[in-house]
């Protein structure tokens, strides 16, 4: 009989966390086998076609699939062995791991260390008609449009206004579908306002305090009914709307995918801020089961950047535990990764998650949660996260440090940064050739516009993953002002042609003239459109109605 193969490190799951762990461990000399049950590596990265948030070290401003390619290259150059279509069935006696390759071949394996990077699972939502064809998870629709390039339907209702729901709604529009609305059971939009801004400018209504009541149809969805909810999330009788729709996408969050961790005997605890039951881990990402490390959505639902950094941290921890990194070096590297992770979890959006993570570390050490009380006070203090039901008013935007003053606007072209939530993102800072945009001292701080340094060149527009930067030129001509904005739909408007200028909510404001369509290569597929309109609309018009026909 063949001798059982032994590896130093088995990484399970080839998404960002698994790739990060495999790459870092390999870098320091660990022999790594990375397995994934799919036939392609990258996890969900290759269907992420939007520009990512984060900082320079996270390749912020780069589209998800390009980050995926970058990681695969890195894995390749580090000599990571990847085995695809390989399912891990579980650990058997004496730490023997059983693998099922291509649904037919069983293989047994021994590993000195394991990193579990099994990701998350989308939650389902039950309502009458939820199992009719045409109702699907938002992630499934995203796979269809961005990988398979097939539209799941023409008229889509999105359930859930978190970042996943908002981003996929936007991508459905880009793919050519209509999104008839986004319903959110909570009383405010739960994702980033900049993501909501993109879909609202495109005319998609967001119904807060609403949920889906029913999906109806014979063989597949033909219409949907939504209902308003009271404060206790009970349907309010009589406030219902019926839409003709052929598709319902469910994006109501994810759960950590803990099956293998559970089989392995890792200790779990419930953390609602991070998606539910998840395995405890220490600050090396090691679970309560010695030698088994966890990373990414399995250790708490976050986003790809945190997953990648957690994976890298798990990778160096494994390398250190096997003696490939000396303790001083490891301490330094570890501190850097925690620093990066803490930055990503900074700001009001990440605050709850960051406290939950602290609790995980404490409970894995069996320490008393002595910080709990302090944290609660801190949480209230820090949660200056204003709740928005819709896009705020102009007046509110003008109170933020990215909005130029009235006198500066009248002097001529200037950037207008409508980024008013503290999210971890800073590509605009590096994009500006005049150093007119600052985010200090934390990556989650709001962008501050130095309006005297700003020349209104507009390079920042395409750099912003939130598409929240515009350029206002009050003195375009004696009668007209010009407004520049990002645009990622086909067909592009034609220079010299007319279009309908819309405000932040997608409501038509006035007819405008297209004066420039800038598609330069380093804008990476984000076109920057400039329109001319009456001067009085300078603070109102922020986009144009999408052009339906390529006539």
């Amino acid at each position: 009989m063949e001798r059982m193969r032994e590896v130093e490190l088995l990484v399970i799951g080839a998404g960002p966390a698994g790739l990060g762990a495999a790459i870092e461990a390999s870098r320091y000399g660990v022999k790594v086998l990375l397995v994934d049950d799919k036939d392609k590596p990258g996890g969900q990265l290759f269907k992420q076609i939007h520009k990512f948030f984060g900082s320079k070290e996270h390749l912020a401003g780069t589209r998800g699939f390009d980050i995926g390619l970058h990681l695969l290259k890195e894995a390749d150059s580090q000599g990571v062995e990847i085995s695809l279509q390989t399912k891990v069935l579980g650990t058997m006696d004496k730490d023997v791991i059983s693998l099922l390759v291509k649904e037919r071949e069983m293989k047994l394996l021994k590993a000195k260390r394991i990193v579990l990077a099994t990701g998350g699972i989308e939650k389902a939502l039950s309502f009458p008609g939820w199992n009719l064809p045409g109702v699907m998870s938002a992630g499934a629709a995203q796979t269809l449009i961005n990988i398979e390039r097939v539209l799941p339907g023409e008229r889509i209702l999105m359930v859930g206004s978190g970042n996943v729901g908002l981003i996929i709604s936007y991508q459905l529009l880009q793919a050519g579908a209509d999104v008839v609305g986004i319903v959110e059971a909570g009383s405010s939009i739960t994702g980033y306002l900049v993501h909501a801004g993109k879909v609202m400018r495109a005319g998609v209504p967001i119904y807060t305090s609403h949920t889906i009541k029913e999906a109806r149809g014979g063989k597949s969805v033909e219409e949907v009914v939504i209902t308003a909810l009271d404060r206790r999330w009970n349907p309010i009788k009589g406030i219902e709307k019926t839409f003709s729709a052929d598709t319902v996408c469910i994006s109501v969050g994810l759960n950590p995918n803990g099956q293998l961790a559970s089989l392995a005997g890792c200790e779990f605890k419930f953390f609602p801020e991070l998606g539910g039951f998840l395995p405890l881990h220490d600050d090396n990402m090691e679970s309560t089961k010695k030698g088994i490390y966890i990373a990414g959505d399995l250790s708490g639902i976050e986003e790809a950047n945190s997953a990648l950094d957690e994976g890298r941290l798990a990778g160096i921890s494994v390398a250190a535990s096997l003696g490939y990194i000396d303790s001083n070096r490891f301490a330094k590297l570890k501190e850097d990764y925690w620093d990066r992770l803490n930055k990503l979890r900074g700001g009001p959006f990440g605050h709850k998650r960051s406290i939950a993570k602290k609790k995980i570390l404490l409970s894995s050490q069996q320490k008393e949660m002595r910080y709990q009380e302090i944290d609660c006070i801190e949480l209230e203090e820090n949660t200056k996260l204003k709740n928005y039901k819709s896009i705020p008013s102009l007046k509110e935007f003008q109170e933020f440090p990215g909005y130029p003053s009235l006198s500066r606007i009248k002097k001529g072209a200037v950037a207008c940064i409508e980024c008013i939530q503290e999210i971890p993102c800073d590509p605009c800072v590096a994009a500006c050739p005049f150093k007119a945009i600052n985010i200090n001292p934390y990556i989650t701080d709001l962008p501050y516009l130095d309006e005297n340094k700003c020349k209104g060149c507009g390079v920042c527009i395409a750099s912003c993953p939130g598409q929240a930067i515009f350029v206002l030129n009050y003195n375009y001509s004696s009668e007209k002002a010009a407004i520049s904005f990002p645009y990622e739909y086909l067909p592009y408007p034609k220079i010299g042609g007319k279009a309908v200028g819309v405000n932040r909510k997608g409501e038509p404001v006035a007819e405008v003239k297209i004066v420039k369509v800038d598609k330069r290569a380093n804008f990476d597929k984000t076109a920057v459109i400039t329109i001319a309109c009456d001067k009085k609309y300078i603070n109102q018009i922020r986009s144009i109605e999408r052009i339906k026909d390529d006539a």
Partner: protein, 109 residues
């Protein structure tokens, strides 16, 4: 439904090899490399199987091979998850009724 020929970020549709598959006795075209589910949805199919007890339609739901709602009979084998199985030239695909295994027959109950 339709295929996305042009996309502002992903560009023009890649040229892929067209292959023929047979769905409930009808020839349709699919692209090499795509999943059965994608090919079916692109050709307007949405009800992939009917449930055993109540004969209710089910279709593409999770898209990652977890929920089994998109199971169909492929080349005579029932319970094939069409969202994670790629099309092959001449593949025979049938709507699955119930478990699709009644003496090799696929009868409506």
């Amino acid at each position: 439904m339709k295929r996305i020929k042009e996309h502002p970020i992903l560009g023009k549709e890649e040229k892929r090899k067209k292959i023929k598959i047979v769905v409930n006795g009808k020839n349709i075209y699919a692209y090499k490399g795509e999943t059965i589910a994608a090919a079916l949805i692109a050709n307007g199919y949405r009800d992939f199987r009917y449930t055993h007890r109540f004969n209710l339609p089910r279709g593409f739901f999770c898209g990652i091979g977890q929920c089994t709602d998109c199971s169909m009979i492929v080349n005579g084998v029932p319970n094939i998850r069409t969202c994670v199985t790629r099309v092959e030239e001449g593949m025979i695909i049938e709507t699955q009724y119930g478990y699709g295994d009644k003496d090799g027959k696929n009868e409506r109950s």
